[in-house]
Symmetry: C2
Subunit: 386 residues, 2 copies
């Protein structure tokens, strides 16, 4: 049995439930290895949320529509009910088809009793089909068992980290005056997808110019890159169901003195994080330390210092001023200090960091560069790394 | 009041409900013009489904997380409650934050009584917050009011059709031996996104080689295009909340006699559809006619003949053997006959078609080409159109 399934069973047990009914797509990836496509939104051919059921002994069942049959084939669930959803020869009542599938699974595995559920996606329809004795929330328990990664997850996350690094290396090559943000982003995506061998959902930010980078967040638009633009490339690709994340910032040409100050603040803060991250450190203390380096340079960032990552792009514990959890060996955390100044632009630098006994190491470090395009005669990209 | 909102109110009324609670992302686009990003999946910072509420008079309320604030700004809902979901200064109980937002909206608009709901995404949590006197399903009523498009939707759909056509024209230019399916798809996406000026979710199929095209469906992978490959490019981009769709098929080099037969069957079938589509035609009869042209050529396609399109990529009525609905002026339907033969590959040709009084017209026709790359000395693309 995969250790993730064991841990999910442990979460269900710790809630005092007989069964867990998991309906968030990332939970279903985590405990059932059912990696459904997400990038076109909820399918018009779904009668309810794809659901994975787990009991305290790790018995696992899955209900998924036939449009997710390929994903279901990769799932390790003991019992899988694939319901008719997309077809053309006769009309399908999707909601009834879904409910019938849940009831078939329920009777086959003896699913009953107290249910641990994910309230944000647990439907009334599921409640009717399951007739729970009682429901209890599973979010807190699940987030805790997911915080440290299993050996399989570490492999997956290192690969996702490499995918993000491939994206950043492509960013340095692809950014040129005259191209739109969307052009550069498409080239980055192609490199990541060729690395992954599959379509890859990507979230994050891609920004050019002082105004946009100083505002810190946003998806790419048609704006064309201009000489001297600060750029920000925050890339979070999902490869094999696991997310990578990363952020580079650079200038298309010669950076201003003001920009170099922002860059140094973010770079020093990230380097300081690498120096101090170790098991036992309290997340809020890490946040204060990293934020402090940026503050000492005269800047601030209006966002978290970082977050854990796995089958969700943001996981617990987050690196925030309020988070009292201690870091542990086996966690993967993003550290992403930034410095923003509308007169110079914005800089954010982010690596995936694996916490190991006694310290930490970047999962797939890539180079940071203050500038990526030489506007003079010498067209060789130049810059410097952390 | 936008006509879509009026129609949604009419659907709620026809169900005998006091209020509709809409929780599918495409319904929320339709009736509230809240166009949230979908391409990274459900946000880890959501306490429940983004929901739009409508009463019989067209009063409209929206509950959305702060990560969707930009989308909510574009919504015409009378009252919008944006709940705290993503932040870093203090912990947020997402589920409680969502429930409080729903309760605030409920008391502000007097939302109560019998609710028309979308069972596939209506959560237990919502039911607890709304305390409905009774719930009734709204799917059937909603699909009917959405079937013919309003003038605003026609504009949006014509633009999405053009986005798909831009993608197909790029496909013809970008497909070359040695490039991976993912490379070509990335270039197509860049063209569509530059046209749209924004990131664009795309679904559909992108396939190369006899085996993959004959199997008719699948997303692009790392396979490199080879001379002589049949290719299939089914592109469905979502622009401004509305989907376009389209399919081209072509050969990278000289098509075989067998391939040309497939191509002619699909082309004749689509041309026949254009000849006969008019208000009053029964969808099943259209399906039989189009399928018949392909059958007469000795082939078949194991899928629907087409489907309606709008804020969902597949809408009612679908063009299938079982659908007894009559076509009406103002509908937008996809027609996509195919012909598949493992020894030659697969061909599917698809246009968006607008139904008008007395007939129909393609919304944004693009050229179909039997071949798109001249393997001889003359590198000019050649081919012929429908």
């Amino acid at each position: 049995m995969d250790e993730r399934l064991q841990r999910a069973a442990e979460a269900v047990r710790s809630c005092g439930a007989d069964w867990g009914a998991f309906t968030n797509f990332d939970s279903v990836v985590y405990l059932a290895n059912h990696i459904a496509p997400i990038e076109a939104g909820q399918s018009p051919f779904a009668g309810g949320p794809t659901a994975a059921f787990v009991n305290c002994d790790g018995v696992c069942g899955l209900v998924a529509p036939n449009v997710e049959a390929a994903a279901a084939a990769g799932s390790w669930a003991d019992t899988k009910i694939i319901y008719e959803a997309f077809g053309f020869e006769r009309p399908i009542d999707l909601v009834a088809s879904y409910a019938a599938a849940v009831e078939r699974l329920t009777s086959r595995l003896g699913i009953a009793g107290v249910f641990a559920v994910e309230a944000e996606s647990f439907t009334s329809e599921l409640a009717e089909a399951l007739k729970p004795k009682r429901v209890v929330p599973v979010r807190e328990a699940l987030k805790r068992v997911r915080a440290t990664k299993t050996d399989e997850e570490k492999q997956l996350l290192r690969r996702s980290a490499r995918a993000a690094a491939v994206g950043q290396e492509t960013f340095y090559r692809a950014a040129r005056p005259g191209r739109s943000e969307l052009d550069v982003f498409a080239e980055i995506r192609a490199a990541i997808e060729n690395f992954a061998g599959e379509r890859t959902p990507i979230t994050g930010d891609f920004l050019s110019g002082k105004v946009r980078t100083a505002a810190s967040a946003g998806w790419p638009i048609g704006r064309r890159l201009e000489p001297g633009d600060p750029l920000m490339s925050d890339l979070a690709p999902r490869v094999g169901g696991y997310w990578g994340d990363s952020c580079s910032s650079s200038v298309l040409g010669e950076p201003s003195a003001g920009y170099l100050k922002l860059f140094k603040a973010a770079e020093d803060a990230l380097r300081h994080a690498l120096d101090i991250i170790r098991p036992g450190l309290i997340a809020a203390d890490l946040d204060a330390e990293v934020r402090g380096v940026v503050a000492k340079a005269g800047f601030a960032y209006p966002h978290h210092t970082g977050h854990s990552i796995g089958a969700s792009v943001h996981e617990w514990p987050r690196i925030t001023p309020y988070e009292k959890a201690r870091l542990e060996s086996g966690m993967f955390v993003m550290i992403e200090p930034g410095a923003y100044d509308p007169s110079a632009g914005g800089v954010r630098l982010e690596w995936m960091i694996e916490i190991i006994p006694g310290g930490c190491r970047p999962a797939a470090p890539f180079e940071f560069r203050t500038n990526i395009f030489d506007l003079g005669a010498n067209a060789t990209p130049s810059g410097r790394g952390v």
